[in-house]
């Protein structure tokens, strides 16, 4: 029922008709539909906060328990990668906002341009992260049988392994969210190319935008907690 109410792919329709076609049967109007979708996305982001919250709580507890090991682990992080990635993600949030902006004004070309820019920046982030993971592997910093840590201070190197476990769990979960975000951006690009969005109907762009900013914000917390917080500490 609802599927047949949608326009066929690639079919060109005037904006007003397109808007009617995008109204699903159980809503009174597009305004209610779009407000409902946005509200749903915010609730979903709350669940994401709880999801990462478990990891942040574990981080905090072990940091308090094994402070010196945590400092040692944190000092092995390459700040240059973290900083570069932070800059990349902040720029990608800007381009995402621009994409939402232009989709609201109805410019398919500029929407596409900024979606592509966002996608490229996302891929750059993942590329830098891959290089960084590779270096951790080469330096025997991946927990497991390969793990080896030259310890110089008053701590147990096995506790540094827990630091790296959480580091990989947190940044890995974040990277997984980035990959999903890249998939969503690709989907938006296709839908935008097919002319699915209009000034009246563009909630998918806006919702993916919310998701993308959320993933950015997670990184904004991960960066100081993992890279910066103990960098100038004399260490254990």
């Amino acid at each position: 029922m609802t599927r047949s109410m949608r326009p066929k792919r690639g079919l060109k329709l005037p904006d007003s008709e397109l808007a009617v076609h995008n109204l699903r049967h159980h809503f009174a109007d597009l305004e209610q539909q779009s407000a409902t979708a946005k509200f749903g996305m915010w609730i979903f982001l709350v669940t994401e906060i709880m999801f990462f919250g478990g990891l942040f709580a574990s981080y905090l507890i072990y940091r308090l328990s094994y402070y010196n090991a945590w400092v040692a682990g944190s000092q092995t992080m390459e700040i240059k990668y973290g900083t570069a990635n932070t800059a990349v993600l902040i720029c990608s949030s800007l381009t995402m906002v621009m994409a939402v902006h232009w989709s609201k004004l109805g410019s398919r070309k500029l929407t596409a341009l900024f979606l592509i820019l966002t996608l490229v920046l996302g891929i750059v982030f993942l590329g830098v992260k891959a290089v960084e993971y590779h270096e951790h592997w080469v330096h025997h910093e991946v927990p497991g049988p390969n793990f080896h840590f030259e310890h110089t201070g008053n701590y147990d190197p096995r506790h540094v392994s827990i630091f790296f476990s959480l580091y990989f769990a947190m940044t890995g979960m974040h990277a997984l969210h980035m990959v999903i975000g890249a998939g969503l951006l690709t989907w938006l690009l296709i839908a935008n190319g097919l002319g699915r969005f209009s000034p009246e109907y563009n909630s998918p762009v806006e919702l993916v935008g919310l998701y993308w900013h959320f993933v950015d914000i997670i990184w904004i917390y991960l960066f100081p907690l993992l890279y910066l917080i103990s960098h100038h500490h004399p260490g254990g």
Partner: protein, 546 residues
């Protein structure tokens, strides 16, 4: 019989609109999705029940002659995982929440119908992981997946089962999300928050727990799987990890999950008690707010599962105090239901029998919960059958009774057919008697010191164990009977009509079974909830049951 030779074309409804398998598997109609859930969880209930019967049969003799100790460990684990994650968590919300929640607020569907269907598919995917783990050897960690046993020592299918539970969690999250957004955004004109049925309030509170709690379980199970697969050390004491951290994270979800299981049933009871006492529930606002209070307090009591695990005594005392606080909103509900009965015109139809069962059993379960919340007493009865009896009084005596109550109350709405009343009353009585005979002896066993999760026991406990097993057999008959007469009623049941119980609520103002979009036109609500005095008023005032 002229009507037989000239059959009248039945009115289009959500069931007869399309009969193809595809129309069911691709439906976005909340009512059809509710039936998909009903079929699936009924199957899982009987699988979980089968494991329970094997446990009870094994405990007939002190030596535990039926199965080996290892098998016994697997049986109680599989019973727990199947019953909790595959039956109780989705039970009332995914079936009756799905079916009646949109209708109660005058909506055509939930806010996100495709997400709702996805929620069923995710549930089935997770369930098939769990079933696969069961069929390929089972798991023996207990439903709690405690570390380090689950991460290091167990030789069973822990990862597959944990992955299944992880996936099912997302089904629960999406259902909760859908309910919250629906209640906020999809209410019919005039359906203010103060006019929402109490069933809606209960489901709103449940949804908040689902949305806030389940993600924490998800990440915890990810860490368990990582620990087991790669030995990353987070929960492994040999590497400096902390097994207690697992317990904290696990119970942060799994204690509130108890309220995910019981709150929806409480919502059912509030509806049914009003209908069969022909009265507005006493203290509507208090019952509504007590649901919210239970949801909030439920997040602050998790460590009462860990009094003997080695947490600080001060933390234990605070969690003990907070656990006592949960008794307040729970008691508000029980007292208000009871006060609703006062001077009510009570009829003892089957749903009402389940209400009485619920109130009594939940009260016993709740009061024994206070025993367990007291640190000193908990040290004595921790990990004994006292705990087993306590949570079965809540989970079976409360949640399952509420589920059966809802099934009888809304079955005529869902199918348009009445079930046979006498058989239904018989099964309600069997459930009540069988339940008490099964689980009351377990309070005594636990208090006398019989530990849970052991496949054998000293001979002096045999009499009570035999009583318990006998009760379980009666309970099983009580659960099987409805299976038979509900299916029977589909063919032979009397037509129910739109409102067989003369109940208040928008869901009763549309035909049974309802049309695909629930209402022919969006209702406009101009009356308060539970206007039983108007419904029962002899032909004057507002026409409400049209």
């Amino acid at each position: 019989m002229e009507t037989a030779t000239h059959p009248v074309e039945p009115k289009a409804n959500y069931l007869n609109v399309d009969y193809t398998v595809k129309s069911w598997l691709l439906t976005t109609d909340h009512k059809r999705i509710a039936l998909l859930f009903l079929g699936s969880i009924t199957l899982f209930f009987f699988i979980g029940g089968f494991f329970a019967m094997l446990i009870r049969l094994n405990l007939l003799t002190p030596a535990g002659d039926l199965v080996l100790a290892d098998t016994y460990n697997k049986l109680f684990t599989m019973h727990g995982i199947v019953m909790i994650f595959l039956f109780l968590i989705p039970s009332v919300p995914a079936v009756f929440g799905n079916f009646v929640l949109p209708m109660m607020i005058g909506a055509k569907d939930l806010a996100f119908p495709r997400l709702n269907l996805a929620s069923w598919y995710i549930f089935m995917l997770g369930a098939s992981f769990v079933l696969y783990a069961i069929l390929t050897g089972g798991m023996d960690t207990g439903w709690t997946f405690y570390t380090p046993y689950a991460t290091t020592y167990s030789n069973t299918n822990v990862i597959t089962a944990a992955l299944g539970v992880f996936i099912i969690g997302f089904s629960s999250i999406f259902t909760g999300l859908n309910f919250i957004v629906t209640v906020h955004r999809m209410r019919a004109p005039g359906m203010t928050w103060g006019r929402l049925p109490l069933f809606i309030w209960a489901h709103y509170a449940t949804s908040v727990i689902m949305v806030l709690g389940t993600p924490v379980l998800a990440i915890t199970l990810v860490l368990v799987a990582l620990e087991r697969a790669f030995h990353i050390g987070i929960f492994d004491a040999r590497l400096g990890g902390d097994p207690l951290l697992f317990q904290h994270l696990f119970w942060f979800y799994s204690h509130p999950a108890v309220y995910i299981m019981i709150l929806p049933s409480m919502g059912v009871i509030s509806e049914v008690v009003a209908c069969f006492a022909r009265k507005r529930p006493f203290g509507y606002e208090f019952i509504a707010m007590s649901s919210v209070a239970i949801a909030v307090l439920g997040f602050l009591v998790w460590a009462h599962h860990m009094f003997v695990a080695g947490i600080s005594i001060y933390a234990a005392l605070i969690f003990s105090l907070l656990s006592f606080f949960v008794a307040i909103p729970s008691a508000v509900k029980v007292f208000n239901w009871t006060a609703t009965l006062y001077k009510g015109s009570i009829t003892l139809d089957t749903p009402m029998l389940y209400v009485f069962a619920f109130i009594g059993l939940f009260t016993i379960g709740g009061l024994t919960g206070l025993f367990l919340a007291a640190v000193g007493l908990d040290l004595h009865v921790h990990d004994t059958y006292f705990v087993v009896a306590h949570f079965h009084y809540i989970m079976v005596g409360g949640a399952v009774t509420g589920f059966l109550c809802a099934l009888h109350f809304w079955w005529p709405k869902m199918t348009g057919k009445m079930y046979p009343e006498s058989f239904a009353r018989l099964s309600a009585v069997l459930v009540f008697l069988g339940f008490n005979l099964t689980f009351f002896p377990q309070f005594l066993l636990g208090y006398l010191g019989m530990p849970r999760r052991y496949h054998a026991y000293p001979p002096e406990f045999q009499v009570l164990n035999v009583l318990s097993t006998a009760g379980a057999s009666i309970l099983a008959v009580g659960f099987l009977l409805p299976m038979i007469y509900f299916v029977w009623s589909l063919q032979y049941g009397k037509d129910a009509g739109p409102n067989p119980f003369r109940a208040a609520g928008l869901e009763w103002m549309t035909p049974s079974p309802p049309p695909t979009f629930n209402f022919d036109e969006t209702p406009v609500v101009t009356w308060e909830a539970y206007n039983y005095d108007e419904i029962d008023a002899p032909k004057k005032g507002v026409e409400v049951a049209g």
